[in-house]
């Protein structure tokens, strides 16, 4: 049996929750929330609030308190928690605005919390469904199929899907890349050879742009060598360097 997941949890005992230590101190218990909606739902239930009438100011404060606790969370997830924080603050500020007296008093004023409530309800639907899946898989783990028999011997073969193709292809390419790099390193150039190469280039033309020259080099090693070779040519008085503007390209000109 393969073991992949690093952390597991138990729906009955390991639901993450926050323990209030004192007025200002809260502590996170058991793992992480599955996302900002998960946390929000938890806070609403904790406050025993009605999801259709969320006490937005109180919940926002609680939410922000928690956000401070999860600073260490990996950044991609933290971003999603922060987006929710911004949404909550926005809703809170809208709720604080005095309700304009509507031209038509019967007209239904859109509750700023409306969209959030819809999202929470949809999220909770799937969260409930995931609990059902958890229960099913737990039951299923009590059931075993037969052991290996003789006719299974072709089990070296794998049942594959398109993702296997992609993964395998990427692996081959990665291996291939290593091979190419190795090949180049074996054909390492010496400084003398690089000097020779540059001199040959200057035999054909008067000027060379440094960037262009370096771009022609295929490895870091060659780039460094080319740079040293250029400096060497300057030192020997074979070429002069000219930079036409600050941060502009450097032009190598053959000395007369």
């Amino acid at each position: 049996m393969e073991q992949i997941e690093q952390f597991s949890f138990d729906f009955q005992t390991e639901i993450p929750h926050i323990i209030r230590e004192s007025r200002d101190e809260i502590r996170l218990q058991m793992g992480e929330f599955a996302g900002p909606l998960d946390l929000l739902l938890y806070l609403i239930k904790q406050e025993q609030a009605n999801i259709f009438d969320i006490p937005i100011a109180r919940i926002t404060d609680e939410y922000l308190k928690y956000i401070r606790l999860i600073k260490s969370l990996d950044t991609s997830l933290a971003a999603d928690f922060l987006v929710m924080a911004a949404t909550l603050i926005e809703i809170k500020s809208k709720m604080l605005l005095p309700r304009e007296i509507s031209e038509a008093p019967d007209e239904e004023i859109e509750d700023p919390r409306r969209e959030l409530v819809d999202r929470l309800l949809e999220y909770e639907t799937y969260k409930n469904a995931s609990q059902m899946l958890w229960t099913r898989s737990t039951v299923e783990q009590a059931i075993f199929t037969r052991g290996k028999i003789e006719s299974d011997e072709n089990n070296t073969e794998v049942n594959s899907n398109v993702f296997d193709l992609l993964k395998i292809f990427q692996k081959i390419l990665a291996k291939h890349k290593e091979d190419v790099i190795l090949k180049i390193e074996r054909e390492e150039m010496s400084l003398a050879e690089m000097l020779k190469k540059l001199k040959a280039m200057f035999r054909e033309r008067e000027q060379l742009h440094l960037l262009e020259l370096l771009r022609e080099m295929s490895t870091r090693q060659e780039i460094i060598l080319a740079f040293i070779a250029v400096l060497e040519l300057v030192r020997m008085g074979n070429v002069t360097l000219l930079q036409q503007s600050i941060f502009g390209d450097v032009v190598l000109t053959k000395s007369k």
């Binding site: 073991q3 909606l37 998960d38 999202r119 799937y126 469904a129 059902m132 737990t138 199929t145 037969r146």
Partner: protein, 186 residues
Amino acid sequence: MDLETERQPRSINEIVAIIEALIFVADEPVSAKLLAEVLDEDRETIEAAVEQLQNEYQHRESGLTLREIAGGWQISTRAEFHTEVRKFLKTRPNAKLSLAALETLAVIAYKQPVTVPEILEIRGVQSASAIKTLLDKRLITAKGRKETVGRPMQYGTSKEFLLQFGLKDLSELPSIEDFEDLAGSI
């Protein structure tokens, strides 16, 4: 090639026995369709035979059971003996999916085919590593591309999902409305 033509008609008990043998040697659930093909019997005969076999399994006080899963029939141990089986195999229960992976799987199961941005929309959080886990565990699979900007990949559940969650087919999942009704209560 086809020597089958001259064979004697089989009795129902013989068909039941052959079916049992085939389901046993198969390394995955066997559909009634495949059984009918291999035995060269019609579908009704096969279905009646499978039903008889299942009754036999139910009435014997046996350690095994015959059940329909992932579109086919499979013999497996009875759940009540899991302690002894596990002790014998020296296995522990499989590592469970993380909460994030389970939620993502629930969204994919009920919304399929569904794209990564659509999952993000519902869960409110990036689900990349959860999707990666589900792909690695073969619980989900590609279901073509969505004809929209960028042609994103769509995901759906796999046969492995049915196997690991003990489902005959997707229609056996409770309807999403059941969970909708639960949401917002408390």
